[in-house]
Amino acid sequence: MTEARAVRETRSFRQRWLPHPLLTLILTGFWLLLLNDFSMGGLVVGLILGTLIPLYTTNFWPSPPRVESYPKAAAYFFLVMWDIVVANVQVAYWILFWKNDQLKPKFFTVPLDIRVPEGIATLAGTITMTPGTVSSDLAADGRSLLVHGLHVPDEAETIANIKSRYEARLLEIFA
């Protein structure tokens, strides 16, 4: 009991009550967007939520993710948005015009160079949202992703594409 208190007191006032300032700002912004209207009352409720939610969830975020370059993160966001549109058209085309036996679905392994948990989560999400691939599982040591492809004629090429197009960029974003 006393030990726990001693550990707690090493954190500064800001670290204790406002563990993730950026998350607080984002949550407040989200609340205002959901209200779809700006009012002082909305802002106050947003700030209260933005302070309480990080306090309750801080145990899941032992250290805040470090983003090296915000412009690169924004560029990545738009790249993925564009790829989602392409992926949709591609998958729609396969579904509508191809016979089922023309598709070559399979599981394949993507070895990971990225080690930051937030980076791996972003990469896995990106893989699911983009052309014909769904990330299904992570290796127990977090060093490779199990991905299912809807149509994978050339496994090596698909893996190389994922690594160069997404993982290389994420490595630059998350330090």
Partner: protein, 130 residues
């Protein structure tokens, strides 16, 4: 101006309906569960996305009051779709898939669905060193 906006909005709604339909059609047409997973995660996302963009344009141009919470819906959709897909995939791995039938991880540990993580403490240290 309003006329062109109406045409654009109509096109977006039709496109949205089309992609939502393709997503649902894929669910019926594709033979295996892992293949079926591809249809709703992608085609449906663009379907809902198009309708939301149409809604934003409608309120901006026709009603004259900008509405932005569609963006939040889109963002939530992009955040939740991969997680849902991952959970369905993991449930499938648990139920019907043998670990031997999957490609190897390339490391000494197996896939997280079948193998325990090496050591929580080691993972924590690695995290701190990054």
């Amino acid at each position: 101006m309003t006329f062109f906006a109406e045409i654009l909005i109509s096109l977006l709604i039709v496109a949205g309906g089309f992609f939502a339909f393709v997503g649902s059609f894929g669910l019926i047409k594709l033979p295996e569960i892992m293949q079926r997973l591809h249809a709703p995660t992608k085609a449906t996302t663009l379907g809902v996305g198009s309708v939301l963009v149409a809604s934003m344009l409608y309120f901006l141009i026709i009603e004259g009051s900008p509405s932005i919470h569609e963006l939040v819906i889109t963002l939530f959709l992009f955040l939740t779709a991969p997680i849902t897909a991952n959970f369905v995939a993991k449930a499938h791995l648990h139920e019907d898939q043998h670990p031997e039938a999957l490609p190897p991880t390339g490391g000494e540990h197996g896939w997280a669905t079948f193998d325990a993580p090496p050591d929580q403490r080691v993972a924590g240290q690695e995290r701190g060193a990054d």
